[in-house]
Symmetry: C2
Subunit: 196 residues, 2 copies
């Protein structure tokens, strides 16, 4: 069930912490991935309300087999294999596409967290001139980094190691300090990297 | 149930007509909207395979309430109110966002086919510099037009009429001739309008 924690923005508007949440993951609510994802959703909601950019969480692809139309309830459906990333949208006309991942580990980020089809998708995004990246959260350390997809793709494809050491991430990525509103101001980094 | 019609591309690769279809609408398979939507999905699949652009159909947002984890089946879920459009993606770095609509009528396109939240969404896309449009199909006439979202938004908001006459659409839009592969080569028009 959805736990609706509500809070107020400084402008007095109410909003719902789970407003843009991925349903599948609501079920796993409370896990580290969900916490980070919620923080990203809150950040995107802030961006939306303040006219900074337009980034949406893609709905979970579900294969619907049976619907009870008398009550309008889906009574049989299956999770589909996801073929893309969690988030996409637009910033200053440019196409934005990224994946947000969280790990409990303290020294490295395991590549097993990333799926081959996500790598393939992000390669296509880059090929078509879109801006592609990862947000990687080390939940135990409370540290978060933005990494350009090209870096992760290269690491993934050469696969010298099964995980990316934290020091490599710190060296090649951009740390995002956690705030209250917005939680993770990642678009500031995108702005510096692609629009300055 | 999904009816998997398969066919071959000239390059010999198999593909599935329903490969990128919206599940909710598969249930209503056979209706005019579904036919047009499938043609757009086939077009997007062609664009994807030929490296022309990257356009995805957004999954239907579903609110999942109960999952039987022993069999991994969703046993209770509800359709969520959709807040955006059907398609988005990237072409030459730019963000693309559009809605595809079909009508059986022969002389006009009723605005009741467009939802207020879609208008609000497309206004935001334009504000952020994205490319926003509608593909409008007159199924009985077998005629299809691309209309820039700004035109439709203006018509929608002034609302002098409840529908847009076909002659207005023909005058202000761009006709897309139906082909075999790709079915509706809409990106050619986008190219002329925004990249020349």
């Amino acid at each position: 069930m959805i736990n609706n924690k509500s809070m107020n923005y400084p402008n007095g508007k109410k909003f719902n912490e789970n407003i843009v949440s991925n349903n599948k993951k609501i079920i796993n609510s409370g896990n580290r991935g969900m916490k980070f994802e919620n923080d990203i959703n809150i950040t995107n909601d802030y961006y939306l309300r303040n006219g900074i950019c337009l980034i949406y969480k893609r709905p979970t692809p579900v294969n619907i087999v049976h619907v009870d139309y008398t009550r309008n309830i889906i009574t049989e459906a299956y999770f589909e294999k996801e073929s893309t990333t969690d988030y996409n949208g637009v910033y200053k006309g440019k196409y934005i596409d990224f994946e947000a991942k969280s790990t409990k580990l303290k020294t490295s980020f395991p590549l097993s967290n990333i799926f081959k089809h996500q790598i393939e998708h992000l390669k296509k995004v880059i090929k078509h001139g879109g801006i592609a990246f990862f947000l990687i959260n080390f939940s135990t350390l409370d540290k978060t980094y933005l990494l350009q997809a090209s870096y992760i793709i290269n690491f993934y494809e050469t696969r010298d190691r099964e995980s990316i050491p934290l020091e490599e991430i710190a060296k090649n990525g951009y740390e995002i300090n956690k705030g209250y509103i917005p939680r993770y101001d990642y678009i500031k980094i995108i702005d510096k990297l692609y629009f300055k």
